[in-house]
Amino acid sequence: MILLQSPSRFLLQILHDRLLSQDKGVDIDCQTVEFDDVRYHIQVSMRNPKVLVLSVALPLPPEEAASFDGLPFGAIEAIKAAYGPVVQILDPPKDGFDLTLKINLAKLPSDEEQKNAILLQIASIREVVLGAPLKILLKNLSMKTVGPEAGQPVALVHRPNESFFVVPQADKATVVYPMRFLDSIDIVLATSFLQEFVEARRTAALNNAPACMWSQSPPPELNGAPESALTANAGFVTFVVNPRHVEGKKLDRTVWNLLTFHAYVSYHVKCSEGFMHTRMRRRVDTLIQALDRAKSDAEKLKKMVTGPSFKK
């Protein structure tokens, strides 16, 4: 799996299982944690078998990213637009969570395809809620209009206590990510990966992809941003998004990809380290075999004889 998938497998599995076993009485109460501090808590009680209660906790936003009642800007409207009557927002959310939804399985459309589409959308709750402000900015781009924030960097949350910046303009949106990693090895690997992004963009096949730049120091687009956001140990990545990338069906995919860019790079850095460990272990085994060959046969015979005993 190279790309990060938008619908959460955990939620999708539980929703499908619930649909299949509607008559069998089993209470469900499960919690899970996803990358970047997103937590889910899903409950079904047999008193109301058609109703699921889903609570979502979001990453802690830093000061510069505006938060309205604990949810990103535009999240509530996005939820209403995406799910309609199937989902109802419960206010206040459960203790320890930022959002609680009541999902009514009875209100799902009877058509199989539409039902699956809505379930997939519910499992993508993360994209709907966290991606709401970004979606609004990019929708403006697709309609070639600008809101009041034109030309200024807008801070959006993608990781706990860290934000990335979008500078919306009439004909393009510039997205800047300060990339921070904790481990020094991660920093070097990530820097080499990010430079590959710039190289890959230059190939002819990817001419229509957003323009991509990497720099060690903050780019000029971040001139209006607060000081704390301007330090990044793995450099700054800039993408220039055109209206062509956000028209029609591409909007959701673009929102998800931009929202999870840091998580994507981080995931592949970790995969790379895991792969290196496997390789190194294999190499160690080969070398030890080579050393064994160096042992004289007398030594090997001695070791074999003192091992298992002979049966008479």
Partner: protein
């Protein structure tokens, strides 16, 4: 550039063949102790002149011999930041498994990346020429492994970037 590695390794092999004449030598200072004299460095009569073989400024190999032990230290080529951390990671990985390798030293000598300590006991247990084969193959394998790791990181980076950017088209 590719030719010099052969010359470098041949030179190291010849030096090792000449230097690896080890015999049992009980410690002169303490009764009933038997220590590798090259590590102690106490008596000048027991230690031979160290030989330094340089391939270029970045790569070199130091061979120190004594009457009952020989210490081989290597400095591995590290061109850029990525090769630097890959080499460090890999050599630390090997050094932690020094027990399995028997002839490997847990910590490299100051100024080098990895060290071997071969004693007369190892020479008694193993064939001398096969041991030298092992050391030379080890050196070759380290170089190969680091360049392969670097290649895998770059290839993966390219693939990851291409897949991501393709999503926007």
């Amino acid at each position: 550039m590719a030719n010099t590695i052969r010359l470098y390794l041949t030179c190291i092999r010849n030096t090792l063949e000449a230097a690896m004449c080890l015999q049992n030598f009980p410690c002169q200072e303490v009764e009933r102790h038997n220590k590798p004299e090259v590590e102690l460095n106490t008596s000048p009569g027991l230690i031979m002149n160290p030989v330094l073989i340089c391939r270029n400024e970045a790569e070199k190999c130091l061979i120190e011999t004594s009457i009952n032990s020989i210490r081989i230290s290597m400095k591995v080529k590290q061109a850029d930041e990525l090769e630097n951390i890959l080499a460090k990671k890999f050599l630390r990985f090997l050094s932690m498994r020094a027990e399995a390798f028997q002839v490997l030293r847990r910590k490299p000598v100051q100024g080098y990346d990895i060290s071997f300590l071969i004693t007369n006991y190892h020479c008694e247990e193993m064939h001398k020429h096969k041991l030298i084969d092992f050391i030379v193959q080890f050196m070759e394998d380290i170089d190969k492994e680091i360049s392969e790791l670097k290649l895998s990181v770059n290839t993966r980076g390219r693939l990851v970037a291409t897949e991501f950017l393709k999503q926007f088209i």
